[in-house]
Each structure stands twice: as structure tokens, then as C-alpha cells.
């Protein structure tokens, strides 16, 4: 034993005698994680969050969250001598006078965009592979919560500099708050401490942005990761992988090195983009005054679909009992997003109700093998994408010389028509892919080699696929539809007959698949 090993041993022993960490470490450092690139998407979100904490802390050293009026006398000449809020002036100060300030601001903002992109991409991975199924429903709900809070947190950060663009965003947020029937105006008054814009809003959202929401984020992310730890990571199906094991690499050293390295890569890529591409150039927007507006005012992309929904809403308004209800804001601004997020959060429960599957699942699905779920996902994505496109309708119209009215009508009709079409097409593609899998198992893969048989017939030689691949293509289960009785044993119509009928119908749609290769099929093929 060398001197160095002895010292290290002594230190480890000292810590272990006081904390008992050795047993815990031994168990957990050997914990196995499956390896797949799509399992790293959530890590991008986690690392972006850490980048946000670090860069955000830097920005608070100089940012002055106040709407106190100041006269700008800083380095940026085109704004020299203008009256503006201290929040805006200090953001200019960070951008032009603090060393590395502009880079930090851009890192912070790009990291926020990365954070939201990574959350969405991670969510799509979890959704399309069925990783939300029992026992992971709670973690799914926490994830949906993080997504929702991420949108709010991003919007508040975008609002803080009090530039012309962010002030416009706050104005729209105020309009959406006011659209809440009856209490909307009161809530808006409480939130802004009086009439818009007032002097209370920036300091308030600053506290929420840097204290409350990051705290909630930390707590939720911790629980999210602890649940992954406790429930163990899901894995893709493959030979040797079952519902009862995890095939992969131990946390230490393989995964720790990978994850640690990936953190620096994410930080590096974010910094690179922040160094070469401008984001939120607030000095060009100018200070916020309610009388001004810029053409093409947009929220960040994660709010863009909401903006798109509001933009496409037809002008509907009712007046009753001294109250105005702005349906054109209430429906796209609150009701539709409410339905979307509730549906997203409840999806695991809805699916398990439809399939009647209450078992635990640790093996992931290939999206094609669950056509209905994949098609619902495609439908939701199409809906959101059309809303997002409409959110940028003015920029699209301007850049491609199109009519903004036509884009809006395309969106209005498309958002109703295209999602069902996407559902049908996706489902058909999934079932076709299942048939292709079946072909592959039964007849092997096409080699492109044509052979002429002695009697003159041309055939293409098919090559049998490997047993591992065959296993992969046939290991998934295909459970049939639920058949729920409408009439009970005594021949009387059940009280829940309608619900059962609905459930059976949905279950049938869910069970629609191309039958996978059975033993019978293989026996038949051998006779040929």
C-alpha cells in the first residue's frame, strides 16, 4: 500500500465512521443505468437548469428590479438621455458596461430556451415510449408541473428587463388575467398593485423569478430524480432485458463520467451559441412605455403557441349583468391551455383506464407497437405546432411575402382539421410499420440479389434476420380490447352501460394492430 492509498483510506474511514456512508455508497455507486441517447434528453434540461442558476446569480449582482424612473447616461449612445426604468437601465448596464455581462445575459437566455426545448423533447421521449406507465405516473405529473412552471418562469424572466418587447408581453398577460370572468379585473389590480403598468410589478415578478420558482424547481427536480433512482430507469426492449432487471452500466465510474462530461458539453454548447448569436437585444427594443408597440412583437417560443391561439381567436364577446366576458381571450388564453395541460397530466390514468392495464412496466414500448398512443401524440403535436406557426404569422407573412389573413385562416381551419388527419395518418403508418416488422420476421430482409431458378423464374433472395432482431420484433405483447358487458348476469342493463360502451369502444380503437408473428405463423412458413 502506497502512502497515497493509505491517506485516502484514512480519510474515507474517518468519514465513514461518522456518517456510515460506505454501505450506502457501495450500493448506490453500483446502481446500473441503461444506456441510450434518448435517456440523456432529461439531463440536458437538468444541466440547463444549473447553467440558469449560475448565470442568473451573476445577473442579480447588477440587475436593479425597480420601475423607478431614471435618465440613461450609460455607454449606449442611441438611448442617451432617455427616461427609463431602473430595471431597463441596469440591464443596459449589464449589457454594455459589466465585464462579460452581455455574454452572461445571452447565456442565461439561451439556456432558458434550451431548458424548455429539452423539457419538451424529454417529455416526447417519455410519452412515445410509454415510460409514464405504472409505477411512474407521479413522476409524469411532476414533469408536467415542471413544464408548466418552466413556461411561467421563462415568461417572468423575459419580462424583467422592462424593455418595449417584454412590456408588451406583460400587457398581454394582464389582458389574459382580466379575461377571467368576474374576478379577473380584481386579480389584475392585486397583481399590478393598481392600474397597469404601475411600479409594483417588476419587483414582484423579480422575487418570484429568482426566489420562489427556482426553489419550487429545485424541490420538484429533486423529487423527480429521486423517483427515477428509486423506481429505477426504464429500458428499451432487447434480448436479456426483462421487466425485472436493468441492463446497463454502473453509475460509478461509467455513468458519472458520462453525465459529468455531458454537463460540460451542454455548458459549452450554450456558451458557444451565446457567444456567436444575439438574443433579446433589449437596447434595440428601447424602454417600455404603454404607448409604443413594435411590429412583430413575439413571446419566446414556449409561449408562442399560446400567442398563436389568442391571435387566431375570432372576436367574440358577451355582456351580461354588468360584466364583459371576452371569449376571444378567455378560450384561447385560459380554457384551451387548461384542457391541454390537464389532459397531458391525466394521460397515464386515461390510458390505463382504456386498456385496463394495471401492471407495472419497466420495458419501454416502440412507438409503432402502440399506434393509438403514438397517433394521439402526433395529433397533440400537430395542434400545438399550428398554434405555434400562427404565433409567428406576422414574421412568416413578412419573410415569405404571404398574406397574414390567409395564414390566420389556414390556422383557424387547420387547427380543427389537421390534428384528426395527423391521427389517422400516424396510426396507419404505425400499423404499416408493424406489418413491415412481420414481413421481416417471416421472410427476412431483402438482399437485392436476384436469382434465376432452373425453370426460368426470377426470385429475390431474402436473408434471415438475426435471432436477437427477431426477438426484438416479436417480444412486445398485443393484448386484445376490453369487452365490458352492457347487461349484467340477471339480464338487466347495467347502470354504467354508457360508460362501459365508451370504454369498450376506445379500447377497441387502442387494440387495433397488425398481428405480430405467432408460433403458428413460423410453423406455416417452414412448410413452404
Amino acid at each position: 500500500m502506497t502512502a497515497r492509498e493509505r491517506i485516502a483510506g484514512n480519510v474515507a474511514n474517518y468519514v465513514d465512521e461518522r456518517t456510515g456512508a460506505a454501505a450506502w455508497m457501495k450500493k448506490n455507486l453500483n446502481k446500473v443505468f441503461p444506456d441510450h441517447w434518448s435517456f440523456l434528453l432529461g439531463e440536458i434540461a437538468l444541466y440547463s437548469f444549473i447553467i440558469l442558476l449560475l448565470s442568473g446569480t451573476f445577473l442579480t449582482f447588477w440587475f436593479d428590479p425597480s420601475q423607478r424612473e431614471v435618465v440613461y447616461e450609460g455607454a449606449y449612445q442611441p438611448l442617451s438621455g432617455l427616461k427609463m426604468s431602473a430595471a431597463y437601465a441596469s440591464t443596459l448596464h449589464i449589457s454594455f458596461e459589466v465585464r462579460g455581462g452581455l455574454l452572461m445575459r445571452q447565456i442565461h437566455h439561451w439556456a432558458a430556451l434550451f431548458f424548455m426545448v429539452a423539457i419538451v423533447v424529454h417529455l416526447l421521449r417519455v410519452y412515445f415510449t410509454g415510460a409514464f406507465r405504472k409505477p411512474r405516473e407521479f413522476n409524469w405529473i411532476i414533469g408536467v408541473g415542471l413544464l408548466t412552471l418552466g413556461i411561467v418562469e421563462g415568461f417572468l424572466g423575459y419580462s424583467l428587463p422592462d424593455d418595449l418587447l417584454s412590456g408588451t408581453g406583460i400587457r398581454i398577460a394582464e389582458a389574459i388575467i382580466q379575461a377571467v370572468p368576474v374576478v379577473g379585473t380584481y386579480i389584475a389590480f392585486f397583481a399590478f398593485g393598481g392600474a397597469f403598468p404601475g411600479e409594483a410589478f417588476i419587483p414582484r415578478i423579480f422575487t418570484v423569478h429568482v426566489l420562489l420558482l427556482p426553489g419550487i424547481f429545485l424541490a420538484l427536480i429533486t423529487v423527480h430524480l429521486m423517483l427515477v433512482w428509486y423506481q429505477k430507469h426504464t429500458q428499451y426492449p432487447g434480448p436479456g432485458r426483462t421487466e425485472k432487471n436493468v441492463v446497463g452500466y454502473p453509475l460509478f465510474p461509467v455513468y458519472m463520467a458520462k453525465a459529468g462530461g455531458f454537463f460540460f458539453i451542454v455548458f459549452g454548447v450554450t456558451t458557444f451559441i451565446a457567444a456567436v448569436a444575439s438574443i433579446n437585444p433589449i437596447w434595440l427594443y428601447g424602454p417600455y412605455t404603454p404607448g409604443q408597440i413594435s411590429a412583430g412583437s413575439q413571446p419566446d417560443w414556449y409561449m408562442g403557441w399560446l400567442d398563436g391561439l389568442v391571435r387566431m381567436a375570432p372576436p367574440l364577446e358577451t355582456h351580461a349583468f354588468g360584466h364583459t366576458i371576452s371569449w376571444n381571450i378567455l378560450i384561447p388564453g385560459l380554457i384551451v391551455p387548461g384542457i391541454m395541460f390537464t389532459g397531458l397530466a391525466l394521460y397515464p390514468f386515461i390510458e390505463s383506464w382504456i386498456t385496463g392495464d394495471k401492471r407495472e412496466h419497466h420495458l419501454l414500448d416502440r412507438p409503432r407497437n402502440v399506434p393509438n398512443r403514438t397517433a394521439i401524440g402526433a395529433m397533440a403535436l400537430t395542434f400545438t405546432l399550428i398554434a405555434l406557426i400562427n404565433g409567428g404569422n406576422d414574421i412568416i407573412a413578412q419573410q415569405f411575402h404571404l398574406s397574414i389573413n390567409q395564414i390566420m385562416w389556414f390556422s383557424r381551419i387547420g387547427i380543427l382539421v389537421l390534428p384528426p388527419i395527423a391521427f389517422v395518418i400516424t396510426k396507419r403508418i404505425c400499423i404499416s410499420l408493424q406489418r413491415a416488422d412481420r414481413e421481416l420476421v417471416l421472410h427476412g430482409k431483402e438482399t437485392g440479389r436476384l436469382v434465376r431458378l432452373p425453370h426460368g423464374e426470377f426470385v429475390e433472395v431474402h436473408e434471415e434476420i438475426s435471432p436477437e432482431k427477431k426477438w426484438l420484433l416479436t417480444s412486445h405483447e398485443q393484448s386484445g380490447a376490453l369487452e365490458l358487458p352492457e347487461i349484467d348476469k340477471a339480464g338487466v342493463r347495467r347502470t354504467d352501460a354508457i360508460r362501459n360502451k365508451l370504454r369498450s369502444r376506445m379500447s377497441q380503437a387502442n387494440a387495433e394492430v397488425a398481428p405480430k408473428v405467432s408460433v403458428q405463423d413460423l410453423k406455416e412458413i417452414e412448410h413452404h
Binding site: V269, S278, P281, W301, I404
Partner: protein, 263 residues
């Protein structure tokens, strides 16, 4: 010369010489700064107008009418002034390439002389806004960038975007970018209100304020991309596009690579 030189010391010599010198300077000056008389000026002017009229008849009258009185597809040009003609023709908007939503800025069809002739002809029909002269357009001297920015955000940004990049209007119409536009044309646009643009008369925006706006536009034009690539200065749409393509593309590529190496 001897006879002449003996009067050199004569009492009258100095005043006489002075008178001769003054006469000489005066004559030279009057010859050098000679201007043609009024009737000659009017003659040249009517020649330009006549030239403009000929160009008008050939290139413009099929839509705007033989006497610029307008028609079913084009407005009357009586009283629009030289500034309007200069803006529309010198920026290539007129003659229109097609009759769709609005006239696009393109390479001008007519030479500066021809544009001047056309402007003179249209101005001769009825009084209207004149082309601002160089002395009036000294925005570097008379304008203020900060005021111009404030004026631009108050009056122009709602259509032309916060950085003058242009924006969409209804039914395929648009406010064009104000980047790379000649100061005289920016000024003319403000006083004539071409196409969907309102007129900003001198009562609404004073001439000095107009110069401030021009100075701000020129300053925004010259401003380097301070935070890296500007992404078109159109706001968060291009930022979102970048993060969804290049940004997450790089990271997913690296994730695939990381997961691949372990195999």
C-alpha cells in the same frame, strides 16, 4: 510709355487707378456669376417639364391617365407633388412590376435625370410637397439619435418593427424595411405617405424631428451586431428557430455519440 509714366506721380493717379481696378473686379465678378435671365430659366424649366411629360405619356399614362388624372386602377397624380414622384420612381416602386398587393422596392427603371423630369412634370400640374433639398436634409447636423429612436418607436415601429426591419400588414401588404434607404426617400415617404403609410405632416413630426428619425435609422443601420449574429433583428421567432434546429441538434448529436461510444 514714357509719356504715361511721367504722370505717375500725378495727384489724380491713385484715385484713378483705384476706380479702374474696382471697375475691373466688378466686371469680372458680374461676368463670372452671370445667370441667364428670367425668361431663359423659364424656357429651360418648361423644356424639363416637356421631357417629363413625354416620359409620362410613354411609361405612366396607361394607368394614371393621359393628363395624370388617374383611372380605375391607379390614383390621380394631380397635386401629389415632386416628392411623391421622386419616392415612387427613384426607389423603383413605379412603374409597378405587377398589380398585386403593393409596389415593391426594386432597381429603378428611370435614370435620375428622367426621374427629375417626371417630378417636374407632375409638380407642374398642381402644387404639392417638393423634393427636400440637401440643405434641409443635413440630419447629421440637425438630428438627434436618442430623440429619433423615441420618435421612431412612437410613430414608426408599430409597422416597421423596433429596428426598422419592416413588418406585415393586412392582406399581404407590408411595411418595408427602412434599412438601406436613401435619407431623401425616407423624408419623402414621411411627407407623402406612400401606399399604406400615413402622411406625417410637419405639424405632427417637425422637420427637425424627421431628421432625428433619419439619423436614428442611419445609426441603427450602421450599428454592428453587438451580441453576435443578429438573427435578422425580428425578435424571438428566429431565436426559437435556432434553438430548435442548430441548438438541440448539436446536443442530440452529442448525446447519440456519447451513448454510442460505450457499446
Amino acid at each position: 510709355m514714357k509719356r504715361l509714366s511721367k504722370y505717375r506721380r500725378h495727384r489724380a493717379a491713385a484715385p484713378l487707378l483705384l476706380i479702374i481696378a474696382l471697375l475691373g473686379i466688378g466686371t469680372t465678378f458680374s461676368v463670372a456669376s452671370a445667370t441667364p435671365n428670367k425668361s431663359a430659366l423659364a424656357l429651360a424649366r418648361s423644356a424639363i417639364i416637356e421631357e417629363g411629360k413625354q416620359i409620362f405619356l410613354k411609361g405612366c399614362s396607361s394607368c394614371h391617365g393621359l393628363n395624370a388624372e388617374g383611372g380605375a386602377i391607379a390614383p390621380s397624380l394631380i397635386g401629389v407633388g415632386a416628392a411623391s414622384v421622386d419616392f415612387q420612381v427613384a426607389t423603383g416602386r413605379m412603374p409597378m412590376a405587377d398589380m398585386s398587393t403593393q409596389a415593391m422596392r426594386k432597381a429603378p427603371v428611370y435614370s435620375p435625370q428622367e426621374v427629375a423630369a417626371l417630378a417636374a412634370y407632375v409638380a407642374s400640374l398642381a402644387p404639392g410637397p417638393a423634393i427636400p433639398g440637401d440643405e434641409l436634409l443635413n440630419y447629421e447636423r440637425d438630428g438627434s439619435v436618442a430623440d429619433g429612436g423615441e420618435l421612431f418607436r412612437n410613430n414608426c415601429a408599430m409597422c416597421h418593427n423596433f429596428a426598422g426591419q419592416g413588418g406585415a400588414l393586412t392582406q399581404g401588404k407590408y411595411a418595408p424595411t427602412v434599412m438601406g434607404v436613401d435619407p431623401v426617400h425616407i423624408y419623402e415617404a414621411m411627407i407623402t405617405g406612400p401606399q399604406s403609410m400615413p402622411v406625417f405632416s410637419d405639424k405632427i413630426i417637425t422637420p427637425e424631428e424627421k431628421l432625428s428619425i433619419i439619423k436614428w435609422i442611419k445609426s441603427a443601420e450602421a450599428e454592428p451586431a453587438l451580441g453576435g449574429a443578429s438573427l435578422g433583428r425580428v425578435g424571438p421567432v428566429t431565436e426559437g428557430l435556432l434553438v430548435w434546429t442548430l441548438g438541440i441538434g448539436i446536443l442530440i448529436g452529442i448525446a447519440v455519440w456519447l451513448a454510442m461510444k460505450a457499446r
